[in-house]
């Protein structure tokens, strides 16, 4: 299972990668594996203001739906519309091409509340035992 250490994670299995004053968000490799083949994504509108923990969209496989939670507060500045027609990228490239939204952070200190790779790995491993 891939858990790159260049980014942070949430307990709800989103990853957050800092890019200047912005954060790129997607779902973890573990999350995509649990879901199975992604067939549909519900993305927010660009410009939407999110508070940390808000549901900003949903990702669906054939038999499951998972809400997506904002790992930090801020404004949605970009969404990955390419994945709407290529949902398989969320499975095949969860950490790269399968990113979901880009948020301009309003409170970068919130990043401290997220998990680092090791802590996230521990959570995932505990869950599968």
């Amino acid at each position: 299972m891939l858990i790159p250490d260049d980014r942070k994670y949430s307990v709800t299995h989103e990853w957050a990668k800092v890019e200047g004053d912005k954060v790129r968000v997607g779902i973890s490799d573990h999350a995509q594996e649990e879901l199975g083949d992604v067939v549909y994504l519900d993305l927010p509108e660009v410009g939407r203001i999110l508070s940390k923990g808000d549901v900003f969209g949903a990702v669906e496989s054939v038999k499951a739906v998972s809400d997506l939670y904002a790992p930090v507060s801020g404004e949605v500045v970009e969404t990955n519309t390419d994945i709407l027609n290529h949902t398989e990228r969320v499975n095949e490239s969860a950490y790269d091409e399968g990113w979901i939204i880009l948020i301009r952070m309003s409170d970068p200190s919130e990043l401290d509340g997220l998990l680092d790779a090791d802590a996230y790995r521990q959570i995932v491993e505990e869950a599968s035992h």
Binding site: Y40, E60, S61, V62, K63, A64, V65
Partner: protein
């Protein structure tokens, strides 16, 4: 009667395997204080023969359509149902199966539902249909709620010429959800198109009409789609699918959602249930559609097969966020409708529908020419029409019943503003003799 296979020695052996001594021990988890300490208060059990006799006796208290001439329609139509429909649909393989959750052993029903969806799309001219709903009224209510969801608006505009029961059901659903219903008035039997203009001021979620409408009149369906486009609402038309053998499909008029009652496609009148709700829409709404949908796909060896699809809309996965709470559809009724449609086929459907139209017009003319009963409305009609009466409609129906005839629907039951009138329905089940007999009976009953 009893349908239990286990014998007493077998029960004893099973109890032994479980490790308990008596059947009574099975109820240990239920506290004695809430157990029923007496037999249920029900009539004594009946053997099969006496059961049939008992229920035949109760059935005999009903006046049924095989023995009596009936001219009542108003949402449920007595069409002839060919033998092939019940012969095939009553096969145990179909009738005693559950929802096809395991596609490998349910290809029969799944394919039949895929074919039903296709037939409904072809009839209505719509892009996609679900595998059926409870009935015409709840299908319409589901459509309205879907429009509320899609548009984010809370008002629903519905024509007064939509079946009164359907409007009542719609009102029940809307009231519970906190939404509001606006009534569009009918004039001379047709929804007043001028009232659509008022909707521009406070645009509703949807505009709902019926074709043919409850009065039997043919509406200009494009009025609904045009008005809907202008105010950003969805257009919804409730249809009798049987009439679409001849009438222009609503899909050609850019209608967003078509619902309807499929009972007219080979289902028994059955005192109004079970029925067959039809729901079809434009492809844009694929993910909003309530109810089950069957899709084609392939198996690991590339063979065509069918599965329930777009499942994440449904309640067992999405729970409180589902598009609808519906679990059951009316699969067996949808199967019957499909068999009816293809057993008659392109030619048979058109022919049967035309016979209904011809006979209805024959009767209308004879009532007018011989009895002077004027049509209540001047619009074109399919196989149901309203005539004005010189006497009270209920009284007339009582007199007709004395002659073994079930008269038409008294419109004043739901439209007190209308004059004494009767909504008369004629299907292919009425011979020319039947029609002539009705005219004669009407003459006598009005005169007496």
């Amino acid at each position: 009667m009893s349908f239990i296979a286990n014998t007493i020695p077998e029960q004893a052996a099973m109890l032994d395997t479980i490790g308990i001594r008596s059947l009574e021990d099975l109820w240990d988890p239920i506290p004695a204080s809430i157990r029923l300490n007496r037999p249920l208060d029900l009539s004594p059990a009946l053997d099969e023969q006496n059961l049939v006799r008992h229920l035949q006796r109760i059935a005999d208290a009903n006046v049924h359509l095989d023995r009596n001439l009936s001219f009542i329609g108003a949402g449920i139509y007595d069409h002839y149902c060919p033998a092939i429909v019940s012969a095939l649909a009553s096969r145990g393989e179909f009738a005693t199966s559950y929802t096809p959750y395991q596609p490998e052993v349910s290809q029969g029903m799944l394919q039949a539902m895929y074919e039903f969806q296709s037939l409904i799309c072809d009839l209505t001219g719509m892009d996609m249909a679900n595998a059926s709903m409870y009935d015409g009224a709840t299908a319409l209510a589901e459509a309205a709620l879907m429009a509320v969801e899609v548009t984010g608006r809370t008002r629903v505009a519905v024509s007064e010429a939509v079946h009164p029961h359907y409007r009542q059901v719609l009102n029940t659903y809307l009231r519970s959800a906190g939404d509001e219903m606006i009534l569009l008035p009918a004039r001379r039997g047709i929804t007043d198109a001028a009232s659509f203009e008022d909707l521009l001021k406070g645009p509703p979620a949807c505009i709902i009409g019926q074709q043919p409408n409850f009065f039997g009149c043919l509406e200009d369906v494009s009025n609904y789609s045009n008005a809907a486009v202008r105010c950003g609402a969805l257009s919804i038309i409730s249809v009798d699918p049987f009439t679409l053998a001849l009438l222009k499909p609503p899909g050609e008029m850019e209608i967003d959602i078509v619902t309807g009652e499929g009972q007219s496609l080979g289902l028994p009148t059955g005192f109004g249930g079970p029925l067959l709700g039809i729901f079809a829409c434009k492809r844009d709404y694929a993910r909003r559609l309530p109810g089950r949908i069957v899709g084609a796909t392939t198996d690991s060896e590339g063979r065509r097969g069918y599965v329930m699809t777009l499942r994440t809309r449904e309640q067992d996965i999405r729970r409180e966020k589902a598009t609808s709470n519906i679990c059951t559809n009316e699969a067996l009724m949808a199967l019957m409708a499909s068999i009816y449609l293809v057993a008659l086929g392109k030619e048979g459907l058109r022919e049967t529908a035309e016979i209904c139209v011809q006979k209805a017009h024959y009767l209308q003319q004879h009532l007018e020419n011989e009895l002077g009963l004027k049509p209540l409305f001047q619009s074109k009609f399919f196989c149901e029409f309203a005539v004005t009466l010189p006497i009270d409609g209920d009284e007339l129906n009582q007199r007709l019943l004395q002659q073994g005839i079930i008269g038409g629907y008294n419109l004043r039951r739901r439209y007190p503003q209308l004059p004494d009138s009767m909504l008369v329905c004629v299907t292919e089940t009425k011979s020319r003799d039947d029609l002539d007999r009705f005219v004669q009976a009407m003459k006598e009953c009005i005169a007496s």
